[in-house]
Each structure stands twice: as C-alpha cells, then as structure tokens.
C-alpha cells in the first residue's frame, strides 16, 4: 500500500532531519558574534532596530521569547547558571527582588517605565452625563457602582500593579478596608488583562459592560495607533491619580557565554535610538532623558507627575501576604 510507504518515508525523513539539525545547531549556541536577548512574548521591537548594533559591533542579536514576564522569570530562575540567553529583558519592579534573591543577574539597569492606570470609556460617561471618577476613592463611590473591571493580581501584572497602587495610596494597614468597599461597590475581577480589556471593557473592541478598566497609561495612544479606521482622538482616557509606576529592567544573565556582547547590547538598549523606538513599538516610556517622545504620546499618553510607587524590597517581602489577604477579601 502507498500509505505505508508514505508513513515510513516521512517518519524517516523527520527523524533524520531532526538529528541533522540538532548536530548543526549545537555549535551555534556558543557562537561569539551573536548575542541572545531573552524577552517576554509581547516584546516586539521596531523592525531592523538592531541593524545598527550589528553594524557597530559585528554581533548579531537573536531575540528569543518565551511566555509572559512571570514565566520568563520563573524559567530564568530554574535555569540559573546555565541561562537560555545572554541578556534578560522585562523584569519589573514587582518581580525584581525575586531575581535578586536568586542571584540571576550580574548587573541590571532600568530600561523603561510605564504606568498602570484606570482607563475609562469616554463616550459611556459623556452619553450619560456622568463625570468620570477622579480618584481611587471615587471608585468606591455608589455613583460608580458595578462599573470597574480589574484583573486577578496573582495571575496578571496590571492587576498586581493596581493592588500595589492601592497599598501605596492607602497604606499597608488601610488598603484592606478600601478593597472591601470596592467589593461592596461591585468591582469585577477578570483573570487577565486580555479578558478584562477586550471582553469586559466597553471602550475597546469587546463592547462589554464595564466602562472602567485597569490598563496602562499608554493604552489611549495604542487605541489611536491601532484603530480599525483612522481616528483623531482615542475613545478612552486615563485617570491620572490612579497610576502606579512600573519600571522594567534589563540585565546580563549570570553564566552567559558572551559577557562582553551582553554589556554592549545593554548599553545599546539604553542609548537614544533604541529608547526613542520604544514608545510606538512597546508602548513604554524611555528612561534616557535625551530621548524625545513621539507626538502621539505627548498628546494622548499620561505620565503622572507623582505616580504611586512602592519599594521593590517591600513588594518582595509582603507580596504573598498581600495576595492572600486580597484573596480573602475578594474571593
């Protein structure tokens, strides 16, 4: 029968190709003129942005992605000493201490910042003649009953940022009371950002039931840039006083075979050209003071003057306790 032959031949082909590709590839692992940047799935740098780096140093940049930030850190810790890459992109201040404790990195520096803020659906409030909330306190006000959707802080990084923001604002002893009043006011908790923003939120593609959502300070410009039809102003806006500052770090992984290239790549990531490419490709703000922001960002993105923030060491020390008491209140 034909079928047998096809099956046997294809099986052999696959096995041999697998073997040959493995033997040819083991050597590339230690190629000196390559540097591997390990990043979360959402890391989508501007096309060709690393060409200048290769031209200047002769080293090719290989971007390797694997999971979200949490997965990335967990994997980096599991593979400590024998890392999957040379440079790690995407640790944030809520997870930094975990990496420090595991002694993952030989060096690290802040590379970008962003804010986690409550966004609102402008049209929803305008059409009902209701003023959008202005503060965290407002969110617990009966005027805004059953309007807010946030994310599970255990599973979602904006969810965690929002919880940490409330802790920064109300203090380690009083935030629980605030969350009890949020619960009484009908806050809805979604498992992740995608569900909250694209399904539950009324202001984006999903047309859900909730006109208030926990998202990013850069979400409004993203709505303009990726609108289905060109629009001048975003359909959403940010409540500035609710913003929690998230800082992302880039670091050289311990055990890298290319410490020199790793160092070069990190300084390239902190240099003006790359920093200026970040807002429109990664929707984060540069840390380099010499980098200028694109128009879209100066117009529609919010950079709060005094964002809520917490010390990474504080976060690491209390994260589990806070998450557990949050679960006790909400679940």
């Amino acid at each position: 029968m034909k079928l047998t032959r096809i099956l046997i031949v294809s099986f052999l082909v696959v096995i041999t190709s697998a073997c040959s590709s493995s033997s040819s590839n083991t050597s590339t692992d230690a190629t000196p003129n390559e540097v591997t940047l390990l990043a979360y799935d959402a890391f989508t740098p501007q096309e060709g942005i690393f060409d200048a780096f290769t031209a200047a140093t002769g080293a090719k940049v290989k971007v390797v992605t694997g999971g979200d930030t949490g997965t990335l850190i967990s994997k980096a810790i599991l593979t400590a000493g024998n890392p999957e890459g040379d440079v790690l992109w995407g640790l944030d201040n809520t997870l930094l201490s975990r990496a420090q404790k595991a002694e993952l990195l030989t060096s690290y520096e802040p590379v970008d910042t962003g804010d986690i803020c409550v966004n609102y659906d402008k049209q929803w409030f305008a059409s009902r003649n209701i003023a959008p909330p202005k503060s965290l306190e407002d969110l617990a006000n009966p005027t805004y009953k059953n309007l807010l959707v946030t994310q599970d802080p255990v599973a979602s990084s904006p969810g965690l940022g929002f919880l940490l923001g409330t802790i920064a604002h109300f203090g380690a002893d009083n935030w629980q009371g605030y969350w009890k009043s949020l619960k009484a006011n009908g806050v809805h908790v979604s498992p992740d950002w995608t569900t909250a923003y694209t399904i539950d939120f009324s202001g984006s593609s999903g047309k859900g039931k909730y006109p208030l959502v926990v998202s990013y300070g850069s979400s409004p410009p993203a709505e303009v840039l990726y609108a289905e039809k060109p629009i001048d102003t975003p359909p959403t806006a940010v409540i500035e006083s609710t913003c929690f500052r998230q800082t992302e770090y880039v670091g050289a992984l311990k055990g890298t075979r290319n410490p020199n290239n790793a160092k070069l790549l990190i300084s390239y990531l902190l240099d003006v050209p790359f920093q200026e490419s970040m807002p429109l490709s990664l929707f984060v703000f540069p840390v380099n003071k010499n980098a200028t922001l694109p128009d879209l960002f100066t117009k529609f993105a919010v950079t709060p003057k005094n964002p809520l923030t917490l010390d990474p060491a504080d976060i690491e020390k209390n994260r589990d306790t806070w998450l557990n008491s949050w679960r006790d209140i909400i679940l």
Binding site: I15, D29, S74, K75, E84, D152, V154, D192, E228
Partner: protein, 510 residues
C-alpha cells in the same frame, strides 16, 4: 487486553518495532518529567498540600466540574456520533467538521464566544465551553467504531422483535462500550485539567489543580508546591485511567464485521438524525460564529480589513508576519503528525506497555515544560530553544490521544482475517498491507487530522519553550488579544476564525 493483542500478533518482529516509540517517549517525555520531579518533589511539601484546606477545595472542584462536564458532553455527543456515523445527508461532512473544529481553538476564543452569548460567568458557561471543546473527542474516538458495527446484526435483532432500546443495549453497546469509556475518560481528564476556560468563564474564585500548578510554578515561583500538586494530579488521573481500563476490559469483544458499513441514505426516521445533528451544531457552532463575527464586525460596521492584514499585511504587535505564523503552525502540525501517527500505529499493532503512552495525559504541561528546559540544556542535548523541538513535543502530547483514536479500529479487525491470509500463504507484512491497512485507512486519516489539530492548538508546553521567530497560531492569537487597539484585537479574532475555518475544512475531509 494485553493477552488479546498477543493473540492477534504473535510475531516476534513486533518486539523490535516497539523500540522506536518506547525510545521516543523515554527521551522526550519520561526523562524530562523524571528530572523535574526528582529535583523539585519533596514529601514534606506533598504533606502540606494534602493538609491545606483551600487546596483540597481546588481538587474537589476540579473533580466535580469535570464529572458534570463529561456527563453533558456524552449526552450531547453520543446521539450526534450515532447520527454522523450511521447516516449520510447533504452537508454531513461539514457538520462533522464544525463539531470537531473547536478542539484546536485557544480557550480565550471559545470562552469569548460563550461569554458573548451567556453574558455571565459561573459553572454553566464553563460546562458549555467544555462540551464545545470535547464534542470532537467522542466523535473521533467513538465514531469510527460505531461505523464498523454490523448493521445486519441490528436488523436481525429488529426482525426478531427487539425494540430499538433493546437492540442498542444488547447488540450495539457491547460493541462500542470500550470506545465510549475510553473517550469519556479522555473528556474527564481534559475537563479535570482545564485551565483557560476555567480562568475566563469560572471567575477568579474557581480554580482547578492545573491552574493552581501554573499559578504556583509561574506566578509565585513555588516550584516545590507546584510539583507536589502536579504529582497529586497525576495520581488522580492515573487512578481514573486505571478504573476506566478495568471497566472496559470485559466488554472488549472482537467485532464481527469486515469493513466500515456503507452509510444508509434513507433512514426510516429520516428526521431524527437531522434533528440531533442540528442541535449539536447549534450548541457547538454559536461560539465559533461569535469569533467569526468579531473578526468581521467592529462598531456595528462590517469590514474585511483584519482578514486582509493577516494574509498580506504585518502587525506591529507580532514580532513575525501573520503569514509566517500560519505557515509555521501548519509545518509544525504536519511534522508532528508524521512523527505521531506512525508511532501510534506501531504501539497499537504491537504489545506495547500502554501505561507508558498514557502518561502525557496525567502530567501537567507546567511539569513537562519545566522538565524540558532543565533537561535539554547542555550540549549535545541543548535542544530547548531549537525550532524542531516544538513539533516533537506536540507529537509527545498528541500520542496518547492518537493511540486511543486508532486502538478501537485496530482491535476490531477479527483474528480470522489474519489467519485466513496466513493460511493462503501471505507473509505477516503482506497481510498487514493488504488486509489490515485498508481496513484502518479511515481511522488513520482521522488520527492524522487529530494529531494535526492537537499540534495546531497546543499552548501550554509550547508557551513554556523559548522561541526565536517560530511563533505558533495560539501564541500569536494570545499576543494579539493581549494588546490594546481595536485593529490588533480584530486581527487576533481573524487568526482565530482562520483556525476555525481551516480546521472545519481539514476535519470535514478526514
């Protein structure tokens, strides 16, 4: 059952053939999982987990929601299986395609569809989504078997005065029961380890063991707690598989038929199969239609722009072009099927230790993922970020399901055929090629479709592996839906809708 196989295939050359699947499983599954468990399993932590009230609650919820989901799936899927494997009517292939397609879809897509219709969260939407996902498991495993049940036996029973219910319980059920039990076991395991559906539709307070394993391993970095939970989950699943095997053993009789029955074109009660099919299609297709709707309609306006983007444009939210994502996924699916189907065939036609090949069902994707990255990390086995590694792991994950899809059909071939062929002077290989293989062809095609489907939809282990440029469809969809901007999200739904359409196409041919 092992004795049964021996009786069918006493030839010793089968022993040598067995080496391939056993080596494959040992290298790509047993070694990494063992490595991960040896490194992170602590008896003390296992004790803590068993003593933890809230974690016991998680295990209990996983169990009862899975039982109820399995019952509902059977109630809806079995009549549909009967209708589709016994009768033919215009569009029967399309119906089969629609009913089997959701299996490959990312949970967020089906869940968004269900949510658009129910508008609420809780156990009911979860069960609905589980029925939608698992309909195909029953259809694919029970379907080929039911098609082989000799119609003449039923006619004889009817002629002798048996009512349809009696004919079913005395004639049909004994011949299909082991396939049904095998399929129901799988459905139970899938619902028990459900992750995405529970997260989106169950609300935050609903957790399964699988979602808790991910939370502990990935979010909280408690690898030891995660491993203890994974071992607990494996023990429960192995127990279920064992019980199911025990209860299916007495019924496994060889079928008294020669080949798949020609489908009847004019049933007596013409409307019943049609009605059953329509009901099943409505239940399954509505969330799929919601996906297609969301890829085409934005702000109450119809537009093909998202579809144009995925076929010819590029998306800033993806590091590679959507066209490359589609190609990558298809190539991976084909490679995975080329590895998986021949191995599965070797396993079912020889006296392989079945337990070994059921193991991937019991092991959490997180455990396998962790095992892979800590095992294949040194030269010459530094495969963890190799491109070919992904379809190989897809084949590992698909293997237990493909074996189950093939097994009933292989066991249904009567010994007498083989004996007759041998008596007439045919060599065992000639017998296999000219007698057994033609009989197995429909089951093999379906197994290939199933393997490709699993590869296309696999998310858990793949998302754990690091990739450079080799983004698969479910990961691309998750990335697109995970970004603000209506156009980005619409492209995500268009990719999901494309998956629906491709799978409906593939499944209606297989």
């Amino acid at each position: 059952m092992a004795e049964l196989m021996e009786r069918h295939h006493p030839v010793s050359k089968t022993k040598t053939l067995l080496i391939a699947p056993v080596v494959f499983m040992s290298v790509f599954f047993v070694a990494p999982v063992t490595n991960s468990i040896l490194r992170y399993f602590r008896f003390s932590e296992f004790g803590n987990v068993l003593g933890n009230h809230s974690l016991r609650g998680v295990a209990w919820f996983s169990m009862w929601q899975a039982l109820i989901s399995t019952l509902f799936t059977l109630v809806i899927a079995l009549p549909a299986t009967w209708a589709l494997s016994r009768f033919t009517f215009p569009g029967v292939r399309l119906v089969r395609g629609v009913l089997t397609a959701p299996f490959v879809l990312p949970a967020v897509v089906v869940a968004a569809g269900v949510l658009a219709i129910t508008d609420s969260r809780g156990v009911v939407p979860v069960i609905w989504a589980h029925v939608v996902f698992n309909m195909s498991v029953i259809l694919r495993i029970v379907g080929p078997r039911w098609a082989m049940v000799n119609l003449r036996l039923e006619h004889a029973a009817a002629t002798l005065g048996a009512r349809p219910s009696r004919t079913f319980s005395l004639v049909v059920w004994p011949q299909i029961s082991d396939a049904v039990i095998s399929a129901a076991t799988l459905v139970f395991i899938f619902c028990f380890t459900s992750f995405g559906v529970i997260a989106i539709l169950g609300g935050v307070s609903r957790r399964t063991l699988e979602s808790e394993i991910f939370t502990q391993a990935v979010r909280l970095g408690n690898t030891e707690t995660a491993t203890a939970l994974a071992v607990l989950q494996a023990v429960i699943i192995c127990t279920v598989i064992f019980i199911a095997r025990q209860s299916s053993r007495p019924n496994s009789t060889s079928l008294h038929v020669s080949a798949p029955q020609p489908l009847r074109t004019k049933p007596r009660h013409r409307n019943t199969p049609l009605l059953i099919s329509v009901t099943a299609v409505v239940i399954v297709a509505s969330p799929l239609l919601a996906t297609i709707y969301r890829s085409l309609v934005v702000n109450n306006q119809f537009s093909f722009s998202a579809w144009r983007t995925i076929f010819s444009g590029s998306l800033p939210a993806l590091s590679v072009s959507p066209q490359l994502v589609i190609t990558t996924s298809l190539v991976f699916a084909i490679i995975a099927a080329c590895i998986c189907v021949p191995l599965a065939l070797l396993v079912v036609t020889t006296s392989a230790p079945r337990a070994l090949f059921s193991l991937p069902l019991a092991i959490s994707a997180a455990t396998l993922g962790i095992g892979l990255i800590i095992t294949f990390n040194t030269s010459p086995y530094a495969w963890r970020s190799e491109r070919w590694f992904i379809p190989v792991i897809h084949a590992v994950i698909a293997l237990p399901l493909v074996i189950r899809a093939l097994e009933p059909a292989v066991r249904a071939i009567p010994t007498s055929f083989r004996n007759a062929s041998a008596t007439l002077g045919a060599s065992p290989i000639a017998t296999w090629r000219h007698v057994e293989l033609p009989l197995l062809k429909p089951a093999l095609l379906r197994a290939t479709g199933l393997s490709m489907a699993i590869s296309l939809g696999e998310f858990g282990a793949t998302s754990f592996l690091s990739r450079s440029g080799s983004t698969t469809l479910p990961i691309a969809i998750a990335q697109l839906l995970g970004r603000p901007g209506v156009a980005t999200q619409q492209a995500g739904f268009a990719l999901a809708a494309l998956m629906v359409l491709v799978t409906v196409g593939v499944m209606s041919r297989a």
